[in-house]
């Protein structure tokens, strides 16, 4: 099935591009919250797109069921870890860095 192959590679490449975008974001953004915003959003979708692409590559087998379980785990744990990090930083009193002209 050449069509499934093409679609799966589109998913994998899109996931890889999102991962690179998240990496650039965590490197370039100025403070903790915006860095977490960049990587917390792209990370979940990056892993999800990778896993969807890989499920299409493997087809119906025990490996694709395991990949689906990993997908469910990532889908719940990744946003929760981002939330926990941001929550801990906020409760710890870390203020978001606003525009430099303000102060």
């Amino acid at each position: 099935m050449i069509l499934v192959e093409i679609i799966s590679w589109i998913f994998i490449i899109a996931g890889a591009l999102l991962g690179v975008a998240g990496g650039i974001g965590i490197h370039r953004f100025p403070d903790f919250y915006s860095r977490l915003h960049a990587v917390g959003i792209t990370d979940t979708l990056c892993a999800s797109l990778f896993l969807i692409g890989l499920v299409m590559q493997t087809g119906m087998s025990i490996a694709s069921i395991k990949l689906c379980l990993i997908f469910i785990l990532m889908f719940f744990s990744s946003p929760t870890s981002s939330h926990a990090l941001a929550d801990a930083a906020f409760l710890g009193g870390l203020k978001p860095q606003l525009d430099k002209d303000d102060d």
Partner: protein
């Protein structure tokens, strides 16, 4: 105290998944990557995660330190006991082939017992180390009692 609601709900559902994965790694060790040590570490990670979210008092109610000490020593005892059992059955130390009538089945059973005992000991010792660090009294709190 509503700020950690999401974490608590997710942790409640994530704990059995992590523990199940530990047992998958443990009992899959003879076919694929994994084994007793890794499974023990993953199982202890599940309890450490529980302790981080729900606090040390709750975790010590679930899994007291006394139970951990018994588990840690019973794992070592099972490991050595299997070796001594094979010695008594007329083979070398940890010669699993003698455990059952057929050699292949005996070896599979033996490696599972060994991996299980390694896993129990590793997870118990990891949790004992974690309990020791987590219950350490801070130096500046010494005056109060």
């Amino acid at each position: 105290m509503k700020h950690d609601l999401i974490l608590r709900v997710i942790a409640k559902y994530l704990f059995p998944v992590i523990a199940l994965f530990a047992f998958y790694v443990l009992f899959h060790g003879e076919y694929g990557p994994g084994g007793g040590f890794q499974a023990g570490v993953i199982l202890s990670v599940a309890f450490i995660f529980y302790a981080l979210v729900f606090g040390m008092e709750t975790t010590e109610k679930v899994l007291p330190l006394k139970v951990l000490r018994v588990l840690a020593s019973s794992g070592v005892l099972t490991y050595a006991g299997t070796g001594v059992a094979t010695l008594l059955m007329g083979g070398n130390f940890l010669d699993y082939g003698l455990l059952l009538s057929s050699k292949a089945a005996g070896q599979q059973l033996g490696i599972l017992i060994i991996e299980l005992s390694v896993g129990i000991t590793v997870s118990a010792v990891m949790l004992i180390i974690f309990y020791t660090f987590a219950n350490r009294r801070r130096p500046w709190e010494d005056h109060h009692d």
